[in-house]
Structure formats: structure tokens, C-alpha cells
């Protein structure tokens, strides 16, 4: 089974790059791209159960709702829905700055990548 990935970054070039890098891995399937935190939240909320997201590549600094805020929002949404079937996907933070690293792992991070992202393992 392929790993289903969602990319969230406000800069088109950064999205393109991640798409390019992930696309070269036959085990990864990109299910969508978002430009900000709000789009991430709505994407995950409206997805049909079949459209499961395994990994979320999340930029921290995005206009409107940033990476951290998006996760917070997802948590709250899940709590209110009392739906245990739905889960927050594994989150890999992607950022140009390393000052958010500790906070990222406190929140819900599998990994923390600093830009420019080297080819992912």
C-alpha cells in the first residue's frame, strides 16, 4: 500500500519541490496540496473515509492559520466529533527556521525538516 501524503505550504515553489521529491518515490502518493492551515483543516474534514491521509507535510509559517494552529484546530474538531475512527495524520513539519523544532515535537511531530529539504528517506 502506498503512503498517502498531503502537502501544505504557502509558497508555490516549495510545494512544487516537495511534490517533485516525493513523486520520485514510488511508495508515496500525493493526495493533495494546500496553501494554508485552513485548507488543511477543511481538506481533512471533508475527505471521505476512503481518502485517508497518512502523512502531512506541514509548513509552519503560512498566512492565516499556520502549521501549529492547523493542528490545534484538527484536535478540537476531532474532540467535538467524538469520532475515534478519524485520526490526525502523522505530521512532518517543514520549515526554513529551526527555532520551532522543540515546539513541533511537543505538538505532534514525527519529523522536522528544515528547508531546503534534502531528498526524503
Amino acid at each position: 500500500m502506498k503512503i498517502r501524503a498531503l502537502i501544505a505550504d504557502d509558497e508555490p515553489l516549495a510545494r512544487e519541490r516537495l511534490r517533485f521529491q516525493l513523486g520520485s518515490d514510488p511508495d508515496v502518493e500525493i493526495v493533495g496540496e494546500c496553501r494554508n492551515g485552513d485548507e488543511v483543516v477543511s481538506f481533512l474534514r471533508v475527505r471521505p473515509d476512503s481518502m485517508h491521509v497518512d502523512v502531512l507535510f506541514l509548513d509552519i509559517q503560512m498566512p492565516g492559520r499556520g502549521g501549529f494552529e492547523a493542528i490545534e484546530q484538527m484536535r478540537r474538531a476531532l474532540q467535538s466529533e467524538q469520532n475515534n475512527a478519524k485520526q490526525i495524520p502523522i505530521v512532518v513539519f517543514v520549515t526554513a527556521h529551526d527555532q520551532y523544532a522543540i515546539r513541533a515535537f511537543e505538538v505532534h511531530a514525527l519529523d522536522y525538516l528544515t528547508k531546503p529539504v534534502e531528498p526524503v528517506r
Binding site: 509558497e11 515553489l13 519541490r17 526554513a96 527556521h97
Partner: protein
């Protein structure tokens, strides 16, 4: 040149013996006592010489006292004057009033000195023929003239030292000022080359190369090259023609355009008559950068940065406006301040520091002769408007 004028307050006001001066443990001691080291040995030598001359032997007590009083008087005066010199106006001031003051003080000092010599002469029995001789010997025009000459001599030397010390302090102060200015200049340069901007640009280039979009990568590299060239040049001119400053902004915006793509739209409206006007180097660039970082980057929707310049008679009006962060929640209800040369600090973001820097530079270049307004625009977003005198490039 060091002088006794730097004596700290805690030292004896008049140090007449070397023993006293050696007690001072302060590190500046050698500096402080230079003046005393000259005055005291000189006065002592003169006193001994005088004693030798009028008594025939320096072992004669009355002659010694006479010499000591004769020269000690002026030594004390020199020490006191030296001590007070930093707080006095220049003693070498040669205005009518200054000269008259010196005449009065000099006469008073000379007469009281002569009187003092005469008064202590009685008990000591100076002079071969008693006090009557002494009176005539002391109070004649020659003695008075010599006294006055010594007074003038001391005043002259003090004046020269005072003048030199002040000149030295003045030059130190102007050096300090110069240093502060170059620091401000350096800060402006550093501010203009934001490290984040550099990293973001390099990231973008990496990505473009990776994606095989060489043409675009080359374009960005050439823009970055132009920016680095003017930033890192050792001798940056203080002012550049507006055209050159706008070229710099063009380079900068071309790079940002790649990053933000459809989200950033830039409009530059320039009155051709304003292009040859001189503006402080890197004046607009940090403002445009601020507009992008705080007005466009946090906005989900498309944002517009409008930079305009026009000339109105002898004034150059520059304006940078952004359409703001869409929702603009943080912009509402903010106080505005439209006074001349005033800065509005946008809360929670970096606008304030950059604008403060800009203002400092404007003050440096134009003193009071400029206007700077930075405030949220009525239609949303933020606007920085600067008016400076129009100075055409010298041809």
C-alpha cells in the same frame, strides 16, 4: 598635552609637597600631577635661588622664608587656577572685558602679594636697613611690573593648556559622533540584507535547479548578484539617484515574485521628473521588504504593493503601500499619528524597528527638513509616506 586641570575632586586642592602627592593611589595619578610636578619644583628652585641671592646663603632662614613666600604665592595661584580652569571660561579670552578683568585681578594679586611680603618682613627683619627700605623696595613700579608679568605668564600658560585640552575633547567628541554615524550606516546596510531573504532566495534557486528550471534560476541569480553587488560594495555612496534605488527594488521584487507567485502583485508608479532626485541609499528597499513581509506574506489572498514617487516643486514624495493582510484583524482600531517625522509602531510585527531605522537616517540626512508618515491606510493595509527635499544629481 596633559595638565593639572584633570585633578579629581578627592585629591588635595593644592599639593605643595611631593610627599603629599605620592600618597594618591589613583591610576590616573601620573596624568593628574604633571602640572604640579612642573609648578612645585620650579617654585622651589626659584625660591632657593632668590634666597641665595638676597641672603648670600640658602641656609639663612629669613632669606628662605622670603624666597618661599615670593614664589610660593604664585605657585599656589597657578595650582588653584589649574584646578579651576576646566570650569572657567577660556582665560586667554582677549575681549575688553577679559582684559579688564585680568588687569583688576592681576593688580589685586600683585598688591596683596607685595603687602604680604612687607607684612611678614617686619618680624623677620629683612633687608639691611629695616622696614622703611623694604617698603620702598617692594612698592615701586618695577616690583609691581614683575608681579604683573608673572601673573600674565601663568594666565598665558593656563590659557594654552585650557585651549588644547578643549580642542582635544572636541575632536574626541566629533570622532565619537562619526563612529555612531558609521554604525548607523552599517545597521542600515545589514537591515537591507535580511538573512531570511538570502536563505529564502538560495532555497528558491536550489528548488528551481532541482526542478530543471534553469532559465528561472539564472534570472534569480542575476537579480541576487545585482543586490549583493550594491550591498557589499565597500564604498557605498550615501545618496543615490532614485532611479538607482528603484532598480535595486526591482531586483528585490523580481526575486520575491518567484516565491509568492500569484499572491504578490507589484505596481511601481514613478514620475519621470523624480528619477534624478537623490535619495539616501537603501531608503526604500527596507520599506518595500517590510510591506511584503508584513502585508503580503501573512495574507491568504493576492496582495498588492504599490510604490510611487513624484516630484512637486522642490519636494520629492515617496510612498509605499501594501494592501494588508486581508482579514486585517490587527489593523483595526489602531491609533494613527500623522505628525511630521513621527513613527507608528505596528504592534506584534517588525515594522517599528525598520521604520525607526529609516527615521534615524532621514534625521541624519535632512534634520528637520523631511516628513515621514507611517500608518494603516483607510482602505486597509499599511502606508509609509516620505517627503524629502528634491536634490537633482549633479551633472
Amino acid at each position: 598635552m596633559d595638565s593639572l586641570t584633570t585633578t579629581p575632586a578627592d585629591l588635595p586642592q593644592i599639593a605643595l609637597s611631593n610627599r603629599e602627592t605620592r600618597r594618591s593611589p589613583t591610576p590616573q595619578a601620573p596624568r593628574v600631577f604633571n602640572g604640579y610636578f612642573v609648578i612645585i619644583p620650579l617654585a622651589t628652585a626659584l625660591a632657593l635661588l632668590t634666597a641665595l641671592e638676597c641672603g648670600g646663603s640658602i641656609m639663612h632662614p629669613a632669606s628662605l622664608v622670603y624666597g618661599a613666600v615670593l614664589w610660593g604665592w604664585w605657585a599656589i595661584f597657578a595650582c588653584v587656577l589649574g584646578r579651576l580652569a576646566p570650569h572657567l571660561p577660556l582665560v586667554s579670552n582677549l575681549s575688553v572685558r577679559g582684559v579688564l578683568t585680568h588687569l583688576a585681578i592681576g593688580s589685586a594679586l600683585a598688591l596683596s602679594h607685595l603687602y604680604f611680603l612687607w607684612a611678614i618682613g617686619f618680624p623677620l627683619g629683612w633687608g639691611p636697613e629695616g622696614s622703611k627700605f623694604m617698603w620702598g623696595y617692594l612698592f615701586n613700579i618695577n616690583r609691581f611690573g614683575i608681579e604683573f608679568l608673572i601673573y600674565g605668564f601663568i594666565i598665558g600658560i593656563t590659557g594654552v593648556l585650557q585651549y588644547q585640552l578643549r580642542a582635544q575633547r572636541e575632536s574626541m567628541r566629533s570622532l565619537e559622533l562619526e563612529r555612531q554615524l558609521s554604525t548607523a550606516h552599517l545597521r542600515a546596510l545589514q537591515a537591507q540584507l535580511e538573512p531570511h531573504f538570502l536563505f529564502n532566495t538560495l532555497n528558491a534557486i536550489t528548488t528551481l535547479v532541482e526542478l530543471g528550471r534553469q532559465q528561472q534560476a539564472v534570472e534569480i541569480l542575476s537579480h541576487l548578484n545585482a543586490i549583493l553587488k550594491s550591498t557589499l560594495k565597500r564604498s557605498t555612496p550615501e545618496k543615490v539617484p532614485l532611479a538607482q534605488e528603484l532598480e535595486m527594488i526591482d531586483n528585490y521584487l523580481a526575486i520575491e515574485q518567484v516565491r509568492f507567485a500569484d499572491r504578490l502583485r507589484v505596481e511601481i508608479k514613478v514620475d519621470p521628473g523624480a528619477l534624478d532626485g537623490l535619495v539616501p541609499c537603501f531608503l526604500l528597499q527596507p520599506i518595500v521588504e517590510n510591506a511584503i513581509r508584513h502585508g503580503i506574506a501573512p495574507s491568504i489572498n493576492e496582495g498588492v504593493v504599490v510604490a510611487s514617487a513624484r516630484r512637486e516643486g522642490s519636494t520629492l514624495h515617496l510612498r509605499v503601500r501594501d494592501t494588508g493582510s486581508g482579514a486585517g484583524g490587527s489593523d483595526t482600531g489602531m491609533p494613527t499619528d500623522t505628525d511630521s517625522a513621527s513613527i507608528l509602531v505596528r504592534p506584534h510585527d517588525g515594522h517599528g524597528i525598520g521604520l525607526q531605522n529609516t527615521r534615524e537616517r532621514l534625521v541624519h540626512f535632512y534634520q528637520e527638513d523631511f516628513q515621514m508618515r507611517a500608518e494603516p491606510h483607510s482602505e486597509g493595509g499599511f502606508e509609509v509616506a516620505i517627503s524629502i527635499p528634491y536634490e537633482p544629481v549633479a551633472r
